[in-house]
């Protein structure tokens, strides 16, 4: 098969699809002798669309500005945050991500709040807009595998998000390094990297959910609204429902400790259906090494316990269920959207 010809054809299609002039990438690939894999071509095109599009710029600007605000409050309050005999005293640098004076949420909270918006924003029109413009069938008429489209859309969006989150975190680290003059230790650095990876996983979940809606609904607006509805449901309404349920079955103060523990575990299990709950618990554990448990504790478990930071492996083991849950949610929504997309009949208009 003559790959060069087919690629240039795809590129033509892609450029017409997005109504933008032929980019440098296209020119280069035409000149260069190396043949690119079609998946990569679609992905690069998607990335360039995202990066140059207003939507991403606005979303990134919102997140960057709020995170800068959070960084500022953290830097002004970090001197009060370190107390003598603090078991986290050796993890000074991590406080950049968690400290706040109450007027402005910390960096960690902002990521958990605005991350979903970023994922939804980049994913809600992934398939349906192509469909509506009739470009989908034209791409598919090219000799490429059909799943390259949905895979490349997902990969491109996640790559953009990863770069953005990574650079934001590195910016925070750099600013902290400049202002504090204390370099992070190796463990702190690894914890920060894990925090970024967790953030990417979290945003990937919302991205996949948005892609799922973009496959389900023909109208991008419907997809966007339903994705935001899910997000709002989990951030606002679900906690209210949980508190309603738990209030109705709350055991009396005279209940036995085992009953209280069981109730608390039930309440936490309900809350942990929320992806943002999973994310905030996991990031808290990673960024505050003194967190030793995420569930209810009995006094028996605390007798003889010494306050101290957990080793990284143990912190990771503690949040491993959360990571698994987030990864499972991501995979499930991806699988559903994949299957739906692959089974769909796509006809040219």
């Amino acid at each position: 098969m003559d790959w060069t010809i087919s690629i240039t054809d795809i590129l033509k299609e892609v450029t017409t699809m997005t109504d933008t002039p032929i980019t440098n990438t296209a020119g280069k690939s035409r000149i260069s002798e190396r043949v690119k894999h079609p998946f990569r071509v679609i992905m690069e095109k998607e990335i360039s669309d995202h990066v140059s599009g207003w939507r991403f710029i606005i979303l990134a600007a919102i997140i960057a500005l709020t995170c800068l605000g959070a960084l500022y409050t953290a830097l002004t309050n970090i001197s009060q945050a370190v107390k003598p005999n603090d078991p986290e005293g050796t993890f000074f640098f991590l406080k950049l991500f968690t400290v706040s004076d109450g007027t402005m949420p910390s960096f960690m909270v902002f990521i958990s709040f605005l991350g979903p918006l970023l994922g939804i924003g980049l994913g809600f029109d992934a398939i349906n807009s192509e469909h509506n413009r009739g470009t989908l069938s034209r791409i598919l008429s090219q000799p490429i595998h059909r799943d390259y489209i949905i895979n490349a859309k997902f990969t491109a969006a996640i790559a953009v998000i990863s770069v953005m989150l990574m650079s934001l975190c590195l910016m925070v680290m750099g600013a902290g390094l400049t202002m504090l003059g204390i370099p992070p230790t190796a463990e702190e650095f690894v914890r920060m990297v894990l925090f970024i990876l967790l953030g990417i996983l979290y945003v990937a979940f919302w991205l996949n959910l948005a892609i799922l809606f973009s496959v389900l609904f023909r109208q991008p607006a419907t997809a966007a609204l339903s994705a935001i509805a899910v997000w709002l449901f989990f951030t606002v309404f679900y906690p209210l429902i949980v508190s309603l349920i738990t209030k109705s079955i709350e055991p009396p103060a005279t209940a036995t400790p085992s009953q209280l523990v069981a109730f608390e575990q039930f309440r936490l299990a309900l809350l942990r259906v929320m992806p943002n709950q999973l994310f905030s618990e996991a990031t808290t554990t990673l960024l505050m090494p003194s967190v030793r448990s995420l569930g209810p504790l009995t006094m028996e478990q605390l007798i003889g316990a010494l306050p101290g930071p957990l080793p990284l492996g143990q912190s990771l083991l503690l949040v491993w269920p959360h990571v698994t849950g987030l990864a499972a949610g991501t995979i499930i929504s991806f699988v559903i959207s994949y299957v739906l997309f692959m089974r769909r009949e796509i006809r040219p208009r």
């Binding site: 028996e300 316990a305 957990l310 080793p311 083991l317 491993w320 990864a327 995979i331 692959m342």
Partner: protein, 383 residues
């Protein structure tokens, strides 16, 4: 009557007359009478005696009398006073009397016995006074204690109470010094303060407390500690005795000295311990006890050690089992080796780790998800 008899009678009469005449002269000159009530006084060396002496004029004329004390042994002093003045001569009107006070100072260095001194007034008027020195006099310092021997174990301190008595004529400044073995400490206290020298007035006593602390690594035995109080002209010595009984010391540790360990929640961990007798006596009945977090199990093997000789050690294995519900992180477990005499505690920092089981299950779930995607890729992807 024989002439011899006559002679004898005449001699008798004459001698009687002479005696009567002599007596008459004495009575005439004894118009001055020196009087004091206590003419024989017994004192220890270093004391002074105050006499009150009345000079009585029984005559009809005014008497002027020079006063002096004679036969005073060497080193003794006297002063004769009336009121505030030293008196050398006294004049007494007829039929009146004058009171004088005589102070005789007995030195410290004086032999035991009777001494007779005379107060002489004018010519021929003397008052003999006898001073009895009750004991052999000295000129020295006395440093004494009622209890020179004390017993205690190595960790205790020995407090001796001693009296420093200055039995010289002058005030003395005594430097206090004790000869203790190396590593021991000795401190002197006088008047509630820690001192190295002490001032003692002549013929007075100062109480000195001597505190002796044995060296840390002292061996059993009796230690003689000479203590001296030395001034420029005199010194006193005291021999103290400290009897050190055996010391009881025990040490609980691990062979490497490391007192931390990892433990997986719900599982046990064996740790080797060493019980050392670092004292100087034999330790018997060493009990091993523990204070662990709730629901933790600690068992020693053996549970009890019969005896450990001085300087020896015994190995013990302890098995610590963490609670199943223990949260990850550090817990403290206290182990203790105890005898009635002494004890030693070792605080173990146990880092609890959670079992990896759930971690692997999470990995499996994610792997299953990825496998599902892979399956879908194979099934649908390559159309």
């Amino acid at each position: 009557m024989s002439p011899l008899k006559k002679l004898t009678a005449i001699f008798f009469i004459l001698s009687c007359g002479i005696i009567a005449g002599v007596n008459a002269i004495a009575a005439e000159t004894d118009s001055i009478l020196l009087y004091t009530p206590f003419t024989k006084i017994s004192v220890p060396p270093g004391e002074s005696i105050d006499y009150t002496i009345d000079v009585i004029n029984n005559g009809t004329e005014l008497e002027k009398l020079d006063l002096s004390v004679t036969n005073l042994p060497r080193g003794w002093n006297y002063t004769l006073k009336s009121g505030a003045w030293n008196v050398r001569q006294v004049a007494v009107l007829p039929g009146e009397k004058k009171s004088l006070s005589l102070r005789v100072e007995v030195p410290f260095q004086v032999n035991k016995g009777n001494y007779r001194i005379y107060l002489v007034a004018g010519e021929g008027h003397t008052l003999p006074l006898t001073v009895n020195i009750s004991e052999q006099g000295t000129y020295r310092t006395e440093f004494t204690t009622r209890q020179a021997n004390m017993e205690g174990h190595a960790g205790s301190s020995f407090n001796y109470s001693a009296d420093l008595q200055n039995r010289t004529a002058e005030a003395q400044t005594y430097a206090l010094r004790g000869e203790v073995p190396r590593g021991w400490t000795i401190t002197f206290r006088a008047n509630g303060k820690q001192v190295t020298s002490v001032d003692v007035e002549a013929n007075s006593t100062v109480n000195v407390t001597i505190e002796i602390k044995p060296a840390e690594q002292v061996e059993e035995g009796t230690y003689a500690i000479p203590v001296r109080a030395v001034s420029g002209s005199s010194s006193g010595e005291l021999k103290l005795e400290a009897v050190i009984t055996g010391t009881y010391r025990i040490e609980l540790s691990t062979p490497s000295g490391l007192l931390s360990s990892d433990i997986v929640a719900g599982r046990g961990k064996k740790i080797d311990l060493v019980v050392k007798n670092t004292g100087t006596s034999i330790l018997s009945d060493v009990q091993l006890t523990h204070a662990a977090p709730a629901n933790w199990e600690v068992t020693f093997e053996p549970k009890k050690i019969e005896s450990i000789l001085a300087g020896r050690q015994e190995n013990v294995t302890v098995t610590i089992s963490a609670d199943k519900k223990a949260i990850p992180g550090d817990y403290v477990t206290n182990l203790e080796a105890r005898t009635p005499e002494t004890s030693s505690k070792a605080s173990f920092r146990m880092s609890v780790k959670t079992p990896m089981l759930w971690g692997w299950i999470g990995v499996l779930i994610i792997a299953a998800g990825i496998a599902a995607i892979w399956y879908l890729f194979r099934k649908y992807g390559r159309r």
